[in-house]
């Protein structure tokens, strides 16, 4: 699937983007649009339910290196974030810490990046009061963006670095958010492109190989990139580089990243003196 094709189809058929994506999916994978819509609907329902349940909680994570980020942030407010953004960040941190504590999550696109898409959709529901049907349309658009990246490039940190996981999640979240807020297809494209460009080159460097440091906080900060990109796009600012080309660029960047920066825990913050010291302390308990 190419974004260019979606744009042409929207132009030719005058159908809304989310319907074009569902029909396109049927052509590509023989998936019945209604069945697919039902599956996506239950995934979105799960996302909203889990977000509600875990919001701002404290978690006992597997390594103990994270677990109280969401709870701390929810108790401290210095007025730097809008109510919407604050809710999205707390949701993203909560979901990600829930993941690190063997809680139930929805991979979106992966478990490591599972906080970002829930961040925007839960905030749309809780702060903006959006109804489920509108959110579902946005979620379909998020899915379409994720699929374009997965089929043209990769959504695996081991293959393309963190940009492929967190970057993809932010592009998906940003596109869905923009669509829910009434953005047209150009705005959706700009939002996804700006998110992916902003996170391009991000390396996958988990301390000890575990999905906690820096993954949890990256979910929290990347959701702000998604929201900012959406605001920029909704104001009519275009992405100079079309989305399909941004995805190609991300793929090439992933290829040029050394193996040490692709989920091997052999580079980045994973090999800092503090990371090594922490690992020495906790590894006895973990193997």
């Amino acid at each position: 699937m190419l974004f260019k094709d979606l744009k042409n189809l929207v132009k030719e058929t005058h159908l809304p983007l989310h319907e074009v994506i569902l029909s396109y999916e049927m052509l590509e994978s023989a998936e019945d649009p209604e069945t697919l819509k039902n599956s996506l609907s239950s995934l979105l329902r799960a996302i909203l339910e889990i977000s509600e349940r875990v919001y701002g909680k404290t978690f006992k994570t597997l390594t103990g290196l994270t677990g109280n980020n969401a709870s701390k942030l929810s108790k401290n407010d210095h007025g730097l974030l809008s109510e919407f953004m604050r809710c999205a960040v707390i949701t993203a941190l909560s979901m990600s810490e829930n993941n690190a504590s063997m809680g139930k999550i929805v991979a979106c696109p992966t478990a490591g990046a599972c906080g970002i898409v829930p961040g925007v959709f839960y905030a749309l529901k809780k702060i903006k009061g959006f109804d489920f049907d509108t959110l579902l349309k946005g979620f379909i658009v998020s899915g379409g963006i994720g699929e374009i990246i997965a089929s043209k490039a990769t959504i695996s940190g081991a293959v393309g670095g963190c940009q492929a996981e967190i970057g993809t999640a932010a592009a998906m979240a940003s596109a869905g958010l923009t669509y829910c807020l009434g953005g047209n297809i150009e705005a959706v494209e700009a939002a996804a492109s700006i998110s992916l460009k902003s996170l391009m080159g991000l390396v996958c460097d988990p301390v000890g190989g575990f999905v906690e440091v820096p993954c949890v906080k990256r979910n929290g900060t990347a959701v702000t990139v998604a929201i900012t990109s959406s605001e920029i796009a909704l104001s009519g600012i275009k992405s100079v580089i079309p989305f399909d080309e941004v995805v190609d660029a991300m793929k090439k960047v992933g290829k040029s990243l050394p193996e040490t920066l692709k989920e091997t825990a052999l580079g980045g913050v994973a090999v800092t003196p503090t990371a090594k010291k922490i690992l020495k302390r906790i590894l006895g308990k973990l193997t």
Partner: protein
């Protein structure tokens, strides 16, 4: 790549390859032996061996072998649950550079019968079961499978296959013991057979042991 490979599944964290894949391999064994084993050893290789506690791979494997589903929130408590059920389980590690880095060999015993299953978690929750009781295969858990130990005599296989009214997707065969005249067949099916067919298969005089593993995800 389909959209549902990008969003979803609903799963237990923290990692699709180290946790979800491990639950599925464990559950494959639970289905194969039709329940919880009496004794089980999980031999972990590669990345499974070095990072299993930090990824919850141990709890995922135990949860799976107890029959827990992909999104069962009790997976995190599986070790305690297994202990309360009296399951005799342990973990060990081994080295093998030839196989996928996320591999587990599960050796288990139920009612005195020993089973030995090898599986890899190959990414995004996908699995490959590549050896069952010495018979090499390549199963992804998405299709129903019948594992049969049969008498190694002429016509045995054709009698077994003729019972099936469903298309066979793949067939893996191996002679087990020339003296005892035993062989094994792993039959991968396009869809689930009716119970009647399974019963008729089990009743064949050439069939010594039969195990049915439904689609596990």
């Amino acid at each position: 790549m389909a959209m549902l490979d990008v969003v979803g599944p609903v799963m237990i964290g923290p990692s699709s390859s180290h946790t979800l894949g491990a639950v599925r391999i464990g559950r494959f064994v639970n289905e194969l032996i039709d329940g919880i084993p009496d004794i089980v050893t999980f031999y972990l290789c590669g990345s499974f061996a070095t990072t299993y506690k930090g990824h919850g791979t141990d709890r995922a494997l135990v949860g799976g072998i107890l029959g827990m589903k992909d999104d069962d929130e009790n997976i995190r408590n599986s070790i305690r649950i297994a202990e309360s059920l009296g399951l005799d389980f342990k973990f060990d590690i081994f080295e093998n550079d030839e196989i996928h880095p996320n591999t587990v060999r599960i050796e288990c015993q139920k009612n005195g019968i020993i089973h030995d299953i090898w599986g890899s978690s190959i990414g995004g929750g996908a699995i490959e079961i590549f050896k069952i009781n010495g018979v090499e295969c390549s199963l992804d858990g998405k299709t129903p499978v019948i594992f049969i130990v049969n008498r190694d005599i002429p016509g045995a296989l054709s009698r077994i296959l003729s019972k099936l009214d469903i298309n066979v997707a793949n067939l893996y065969l191996k002679r087990l013991n020339k003296l005892k005249l035993t062989a094994a067949a792993i039959i991968e099916l396009d869809k689930s057979p009716e119970n009647r067919i399974l019963k008729e298969l089990g009743d064949l005089d050439v069939v010594l042991e039969m195990y049915y593993i439904p689609q596990i995800f």
